[in-house]
Amino acid sequence: MTQEHPSKLSFSIEESVWLNKGQEVEEILGMSLEPEIVIEEKDLHVYIKGGLRLVGEYRPTGSAEVVDVDSESLEAQLSFRSAGDVTISDDGTGEIKHFFPIDVTIPISRIQNLDDVYVQVESFDYDLPERSCIQLTADISISGMTTQQETVEKRVEQEIEKEAAKVEEPKFGAIPTAFSFEAKKRPEVGDMTPPSPGRYPSRPFPFTPVSEESAEPVEEKTPAIGASPSTRYTRQEQEVANLSSNEPRQELETNETSNIEEVEEVEAAVAAVAVPTERVELVAEEVEEVEEETVEEVEEVEEVEEIAPAQAETKINLAPLKEMAEALVKAERPDTVDDEKEQVAPPREENALYLTSMLSKGEEKFSKWKMCIIQENESLDTIADRYDISTSQLVRMNRLQGEQIEEGQILYIPVSVES
């Protein structure tokens, strides 16, 4: 089929906004999420830039102030605002403002008419897991793209739906504060089949690979799904680093039921393309997200702020990591590893490498991803040049088997924090 038909990219975002002491939420009064997007065409690409602006009103609790008199800085704890700086409205309502940045690049050939490109908030919900945290989830779609041929995407999407129907609805580790910025990648059908051992190239790495095992062998694997790795140093990072240094390393395998069931309270932030084998990695990536996440000041308007480590330490939910730790502990028991698991181990080792490298390597500090749909005659080198990134990074980040890419394929381009 070469018939043109509309296509869209979907994103799931999940964000937890942490509130300062004394600004805990008693009741959410209202919440809105509005796209503020600029769509522009430049150099054969369409750039969709801007973000989603969250505005909410809440009624703060009247919780008692807690002052730690043994703290190093009493001054910081006891300071109060000047008369003109107090912003809480006269009825006591607090205001939350938060901005989720979005930056997507689409080849112009995929856009028939720029006026047809829309960014829509398809669904939006929030929850209050605790009074100091507002957890937001939203599904965003970018519509108005077309496909010139029967794209791999469509077929794969159908395949994925079939596969997803077979498997229990995945619930991925939406660690509080994680901001999953994902596109529904449409991998080739072949990618849905279990990879053979050694399918992913292994390469030397300065960090000890993480290994993990589960009770059942891996059934399916998919290419990596874009997440938003990050760089911030938090307790999670320490913990994961500790996990990653455990010896000896076993194959990292995941069980699509056991691990998922352990990771409770998660949202289906990952699209249906995700299959269980990706879960551990996703959790790990989201852990990085946690590290990157911010403690949102109520007064904050625009940018995500760096989280203060101390605050992050006290607020981030470590349960999923603990579950990972448990899994790793299990992995260190040789008697629980059977031959079948060992056979499928290499791919997971790659994933483990990815996890440790993301958490540890300074030069791989990414705050967001761009997506690139491969055009005719484009190679990995041209993509790498365009985005000023090495081909090896692209290979690794996208779980490519080699440097061969195909037209219509979506590559995820990590964007460095420093850039």
Binding site: G62, E65, V69, E72, L74, E75, Q77, L78, A83, V86
Partner: protein, 303 residues
């Protein structure tokens, strides 16, 4: 017997005459007379004046002893005390350390003393009374005051939290010093002029004193004064934090509460709001300076 003769006899002066009903002129200089009807209060004031000094730089305005070395003489059912009088106050801004030490000595004595004397009830901020007035204010006034009420609640909660941390700590019983004008310099000796008011438990007046000091002499001078206060090791960190808690109390809105009771004009309210803004800012700086000095003191102690 006439008062002047009674004074001559007790203090063995040759020449005594009234300047006014509270001041006398003697061959040994001008003296101030104070009359006391409460013996316990008199004893407390004698005691703290005798105990608190920073020799040889600073003295309290002690009661001059009579020929029998008594600090007071009886007079018409009460007691009279005689004090040296200084006509004019000298600049005291260069004496922050000494004054700080003097305050430190007073705080220490105020914590330790167990005198059976009636003290002034501790004051509480009145801001909560504003809630009933807010709905009737003009929009612009309401928009200014309502957020301040919210911030006042936070300040109050922090103050309560601080006090709760040291609920077993005794607040000092202090002579209500409220203004730097109470310190006067004669030659190179500073004299601290106390009051004849009932003492108060806590730091309400000292807060006023420090706030006025901050306004008159600035932040740096206040920091030196506080450092002088901490030089007296008997002023504990706990007491310093309790002083800070008192400074967190949002008294700035009290004057507005009282004003609104008498149905003021809008222009009066606006002037009052401007005054509140200044006082609020000064309190903010005061809390910053004191809390920073406490942090600094802790660092020094732990090094």
């Amino acid at each position: 017997m006439e008062l002047l003769d009674w004074l001559k006899e007790n203090y063995q002066w040759q020449s005594v005459k009234f300047v006014n009903e509270a001041l006398i002129e003697t061959e040994q200089g001008r003296k101030r007379l104070r009359y006391w009807s409460d013996k316990a209060l008199l004893d407390w004031h004698i005691e703290w004046r005798d105990r608190c000094s920073v020799t040889p730089y600073m003295l309290a305005d002690r009661m001059i002893r009579n020929k029998d070395q008594e600090a007071s003489i009886s007079w018409k059912g009460g007691w009279l005390t005689v004090h040296d009088e200084v006509d004019q106050s000298a600049v005291v801004s260069q004496s922050e350390t000494e004054i700080g030490k003097m305050i430190g000595a007073m705080v220490h004595y105020g914590v330790q003393s167990a005198v059976d004397v009636d003290s002034v009830p501790q004051k509480e901020p009145m801001y909560s009374e504003l809630y009933s007035h807010v709905p009737f204010l003009r929009d612009s006034h309401r928009q200014f005051i309502a957020p301040l009420l919210m911030e006042s609640e936070k300040r109050m909660k922090k103050a309560i939290a601080l006090k709760a941390s040291f609920k077993n700590e005794t607040l000092p019983l202090l002579d209500p010093i409220t203004t730097p004008k109470q310190a006067k310099k004669v030659y190179q000796v500073l004299i601290w002029f106390g009051t004849r008011q009932p003492p108060e438990r806590g730091y309400y007046s000292l807060r006023m004193f420090l706030s006025e000091w901050l306004e008159k002499y600035g932040r740096e001078s206040l920091e030196i004064l506080l450092a002088g206060m901490y030089e007296d090791d008997r002023v504990t960190r706990e007491q310093a934090i309790l002083l800070c808690a008192e400074c967190l109390h949002p008294y700035e809105l009290d004057s507005l509460v009282m004003m609104l009771e008498r149905n003021p004009r809008d222009t009066e309210i606006e002037e009052e709001l401007q005054k509140i803004t200044k006082e609020w800012e000064r309190s903010k700086v005061l809390v910053q300076v004191i809390s920073a000095s406490i942090d600094k003191k802790k660092k020094v102690l732990t090094q």
